[in-house]
Every structure is written in C-alpha cells, then in structure tokens.
C-alpha cells in the first residue's frame, strides 16, 4: 500500500528552505553529465531528502544587506566610463 508523503516538509538542514515533493516530471534531462562541474559533498550540501527539491523561503536571490549574491562571476559594464 503506497504511503502518502507530504507535499511540503521543512528542510532538515536549513530553516530557510522548504522541501517540495516532486514527481517524475522533474527528472534530469537526457544528455551527458557535466564532468567539469564542482565536486559537491552530499553530506553537507543536501538540503532535502530524495524525492524532494528545495524551495527557498526567501527571495529568488540571496541578499546580504543590500547586496545581491548570485554566486556567478560579475560581468564588467560593456559601456565605457564617461569622460570625467
């Protein structure tokens, strides 16, 4: 008899996250894996148990004070600095 899992549970790791149950529709797309990707440590980075994906309770970006943290390298303004 199947056991109904709750749709949303709190992340056991981070109070800023909920874990949302996913179905087969969230399976990874076909194609080769990215060997250049960073090597994560699942013991410390796994936010949610199998079958769930994390949903941050806060904004879509992380805010420190008034600064956005995207985790991506910054890009330089393509427009030249106006003459001073």
């Amino acid at each position: 008899m199947p056991i109904d899992k709750p749709d949303v549970i709190p992340s056991p790791v981070d109070p800023d996250y909920d874990c949302v149950r996913v179905g087969s529709g969230t399976a990874r797309p076909p194609g080769p894996t990215d060997d250049a990707a960073p090597d994560p440590d699942p013991a410390t980075t796994r936010l949610c148990p199998d079958g769930y994906v994390p949903r941050r309770r806060r904004a879509t970006y992380r805010l420190e004070g008034k600064q956005i943290r995207t985790g991506e390298p910054p890009t330089r303004n393509p427009n030249p600095k106006p003459p001073g």
Binding site: T33, D34, R56, I68
Partner: protein
C-alpha cells in the same frame, strides 16, 4: 604482496567520477527547480487580471489593488496626487516612467502593476555553500564618522557621501537629481536615496527610496526607481522582514502609473537639461506612504516595524549617495556616484539633492533639513552641503565622484 588489477582501479575511478558528476548535476537541477518553484508560487498567488509589457520589455501583472492585502480595505493617501513642482532658476524637469507616457498600456481600473521577472533570466547561485553560509559574512559597520544611529550593511564595501539629521520625524521630502550613473561591475550598485531609520542593534529599521543602477538586481545598466526596507539591521531578508521593491512581501502598491523597479528616463545631460526624482515619504494613518513626482505610489504598513523601530516615528532622516565596491577585483572600483563629477563642479555637472525637508509633526508640518554632511573618502566620493540656504533650493547639497582616481587609488 598483493596486486590489484589496474583496469579495476580505472573502472572504480571512472564510476566515482560519474557519481560525482551526477551529484553535481542533481544539485544544479535542484537550484533551477527551487527558483522556478519559488516564482511559480509567487506568481500563482497573484490574482492576475491582465498582463502587459512595457516598451523596455518589463512584464507587468495587473492585480486588483485589494488582492495584495488579502482583500482587506486598501488605505488611502494623505492627499490628492499633485503635479510636480519646479523652480524658475536652474530649472529641472521630473523624470518620467514608462507607464506615464502617452499610449502606455495599463490594466483596468482598480488594478495595479506588479513586476513579473522572467524565470529564464533568474540566475540561481552556483556555489551552494554560499547559499548556506549566512553567518560568515562581513560584520555590519557604520562609516567611521557616521552618526551613532546610522548602521549600515556590508562594512567597507559600501562607500558613502551622505547627510543626516537625528530628529524625531514622521516623513521627509526632497528632490534627487537623476543621472544614468555608470557602474563598473554587475555586482556593484550606485544610488542616490533617502533613509528614514529608527532602532538600535539588530532592531535597527529603515525605509529607503531612491534611484539606483544595479545590473544584478534589474538585469540592465539603467537607473531604476527603487524602494528597500529592513526590520532587522539588514541581517535577514524575506517576506515582511525586508528587501527590495516587490521582491518580498511588505510593500502595498497603490498607483497604476509609478511602481518600484520602473525605469527612470530621461535622465540628466552633462551641461544640458536636468531631471530629478521628486520624493516624499509620510507616515499617515498607520502607513508609510511614498510619493514620487507628485503621485502616491504606495505604502509600507507601519505594522511591518516594531515599537522600538519605525512603527510610529523615525529618529533619523538621511539623504545621500551610496556605492558598493564589490571588492572581488584587485583595484578599487571606478563606479561613479551621481554624475561621476565632483561637488565643486556644480549645476549641470554634479548631482544635487535639494528642497530637503523633514516632517516634524504628525499633522504634516514640514521643517528645514538642517543636516550634517559626511564624506568618509572625499577624494573618491564627495558632498558639499548648503543646509541653511535661503534661496529657492532650500536645504540642498552637491554629491558624487568617480571612484578610483589618482587621489583615490
């Protein structure tokens, strides 16, 4: 001596590498999914009546104004919208926003615009440890000579040229000369703004309004009208805690023409036509109302704040400029403040803020903003105050600078 089959080692290593790659891919997918899920949730909660796109490409959801507060009665502002005011000397025009243009596409009567960010352009963080490391960030430090009540986030990454007045108040008003300020890096911002603040330590609370260029927030290098608030001295953001614009719950949109994040244009031209943002904030019937160019844009309910903070009054008002030097490049940033020119350069060259007043009583009485100017690094970003000027500009100051230069290495 035991021996191992080298091929077996190779196979095990390959299997381990494949396992790590799969884990990494799973994490990347989770991050994408979490962001998309967040946005789906956010947008699903909206009672969208119609959607429009501005000429610059901003997607707007039009929702019944009352739906923002669960169908409760929407508050009304202190008085009618009023046309912007101008001075005869040194004449400047008000900046305008896309929905104010002739023929702008708007939602039906009774609805207000909320920005819908394009999901595909939201960039979730890559390094998960960064997402988790909330406690290992720079200490919150004020500028060295900041007033005691002014506590700012980010330590020395934040560069200021600002003015302050410590006084019990219920609002403020003034004009910010608007420029398309040049910002060097996508993770840096430059802004001119007002602050209303009260509270100490982690109870320090702010309400902030101004004009900001911030590529990582808005996705372009244009100046935007922005609002910001914190209830906890910038230590946590989120719904009813603090954050930018309509990205977190708290703000209640009232106008169907002017909204947070709106692109501001036209902007001032060096030695040419000047434009300004005319701002007013007023605590009125339990809400901190914000007026932009004579139009009441919306409000922060004072219940967002606590009794030791901004719930019923402010005790400091500040106007000034702020730049973030992200510090992840070897040299000091060249990001400009204001026009990028210096306070002594004056009219049509350097940015100004003028007509500065604060609300000294709950009945709306306005008083002169007799402030003190602060420039922690005057050779990088400066300010010259004229807070007792008897002329038509009233209390005003010049502010700005170019960042890195020979005097600001």
């Amino acid at each position: 001596m035991s021996s191992q089959n080298p091929d077996q080692n190779y196979d095990e290593n390959q299997e381990a590498a494949r396992g790590r790659a799969v884990d990494a891919r799973e994490l990347a997918d989770e991050r994408t999914e979490e962001v998309q899920q967040y946005l789906r949730d956010l947008y699903d909660r909206r009672e969208v009546v119609t959607q429009t796109t501005t000429p610059s490409g901003q997607q707007l959801d039009w929702v019944p104004a009352e739906s923002q507060i669960g169908g409760a009665r929407l508050a009304y502002p202190p008085d009618e919208d009023r046309p912007p005011t101008y001075r005869d000397d040194r004449r400047a025009e008000a900046v305008s926003f896309e929905l104010q243009r002739t023929g702008a596409e708007r939602g039906p009567e009774g609805t207000v615009p909320l920005v819908r960010k394009p999901i595909e352009e939201i960039r979730p963080g890559v390094a998960l440890q960064d997402w988790l490391a909330k406690g290992n960030r720079p200490k919150v430090l004020p500028p060295p000579d900041a007033p005691p009540s002014f506590e700012v986030p980010g330590g020395d990454q934040h560069k200021y040229a600002y003015s302050y007045l410590n006084v019990t108040c219920y609002g403020t008003e003034g004009n910010i000369n608007a420029w398309a300020t040049w910002v060097e890096w996508s993770n840096e911002f430059s802004l001119g703004q007002l602050w209303l603040t009260r509270g100490t330590g982690s109870g320090h609370q702010t309400l902030e309004v101004g004009h900001q260029v911030y590529r990582d927030l808005y996705g372009d290098w244009n100046p935007h009208l922005f609002i910001f608030y914190t209830t906890n001295n910038y230590t946590a953001s989120g719904d009813n805690l603090g954050g930018y614009n309509q990205d977190v719950a708290g703000w209640v949109q009232y106008s169907n023409q002017v909204y947070p994040e709106a692109i501001s244009s036209p902007v001032s031209v060096f030695d040419g036509q000047q434009y300004e943002l005319q701002l007013k904030v007023q605590l009125w019937e339990g809400n901190w109302w914000v007026r932009v160019n004579g139009i009441w844009m919306g409000y922060y309910p004072s219940t967002l704040y606590n009794s030791g903070g901004l719930q019923s009054q402010a005790d400091s008002v500040l106007w000034g400029g702020e730049v973030v030097d992200a510090g992840d490049h070897p040299e000091r940033t060249q990001t400009d403040m204001g026009s990028g020119h210096w306070p002594e350069d004056g009219w049509q060259k350097c940015a100004y803020m003028n007509g500065l007043l604060y609300q000294s009583a709950t009945d709306g009485t306005m008083s002169r903003y007799a402030a003190t100017a602060v420039e922690p690094e005057p050779l990088c970003y400066g300010i010259i105050g004229h807070f007792n000027d008897p002329g038509s500009w009233g209390s005003h100051f010049w502010w700005g600078g170019s960042g890195r230069n020979s005097g600001c290495p």
